[in-house]
């Protein structure tokens, strides 16, 4: 797979739109996820349903493929809305946009809006994620 070109977080500004990112959360990934978090709900056993937090995790990882975060970046808050179910055969596209970048002396607060759609262009997940990073001023 080609290496994604990462954007240095200092270059980001409010309104910056990351390139859309395609992904799937297939049955093997769901199985690995369920094992990792020790989730035993019958909802996910042989149903093809993807746990929404597995979708969120995958989307967050896609985001980190686009941004170059320094050591010491802290994930401080997370909003998530589970809108429609996702199955292991769905092809998803996630869209991310810088909602806010605020320098506060030695620190910088970066907030990114996330929206995930299925192939039918139905929104399946929305969210907002915030990080504290070394200041860019």
């Amino acid at each position: 797979m080609a290496e994604q070109r990462k954007v240095e977080y200092r270059q980001l500004e409010a309104g910056y739109q990351f390139p859309p990112s395609g992904c799937r959360v297939d049955a093997a990934t769901v199985s690995a996820y369920l094992g990792a978090v020790e989730e035993t709900s019958h909802l996910y056993r042989d149903t093809g349903l993807v746990p929404p937090m597995a979708v969120a995790a995958r989307v967050m990882a896609s985001l980190s493929e686009h941004i170059s975060f320094p050591a010491g970046a802290i994930h401080v808050s997370q909003e998530l809305e589970f809108i429609n179910t996702v199955s292991t055969t769905d092809v998803l596209t996630s869209h991310a946009r810088v909602a806010r970048k605020q320098d506060r002396g030695k620190l910088c607060l970066l907030t990114i809006d996330l929206n995930v759609f299925n192939r039918a262009k139905k929104k399946v997940l929305a969210g907002k994620t915030s990080f504290i990073l070394p200041g860019t001023g």
């Binding site: 597995a54 995790a57 995958r58 808050s77 997370q78």
Partner: protein
């Protein structure tokens, strides 16, 4: 799963307790494709201010989602909302308790919007995650 007729303000949700293990963190890294060395490389992590590996915040958040799934089933998966702050890292060996309390229930059309205060604490009673979760439960769901 909680029966709709049982839902009332002030009610505690059934807790979930999990021991954070490095093995689980490694598996989570594989599943999420998040291979940040602070989570999986002990040598690297030892030399950072954290002094050792820590779990992905999203892994610990998954425990809260799991608690909500156990309480509200499909209603959570198709209409849940989380808004949380990560307050402290969770480390291998920590025991995390995910808990929640129903703050209020509001009628909205054919749904009941259940607003919960949610929390993850470690074995030392330190808050790891705090925030709120909202789930819409239809009148004919979570009943009987």
């Amino acid at each position: 799963m909680i029966d709709l007729s049982e839902i009332q303000e002030g009610m505690n949700l059934p807790e979930i307790k999990k021991v954070v293990r490095q093995e689980n963190i490694n598996r989570y890294a594989e599943a999420s494709k998040d291979f940040n060395p602070i989570h999986i490389d002990a040598d690297y992590a030892r030399q950072t201010p954290l002094g050792g590996t820590v779990a992905h915040g999203m892994l610990i958040l998954a425990y809260l989602s799991q608690m909500m799934t156990a309480a509200f089933g499909e209603s959570w998966v198709t209409g849940g909302k989380l808004n949380v702050r990560f307050k402290a890292p969770a480390r291998p060996g920590d025991t995390i308790t995910a808990s929640g309390k129903i703050r209020r229930v509001e009628k909205s059309g054919d749904r009941n919007l259940v607003n919960c205060e949610v929390l993850c604490k470690n074995q030392n009673e330190e808050t790891v995650i705090t925030g709120e979760a909202i789930v819409g439960v239809k009148d004919n769901e979570n009943s009987g």
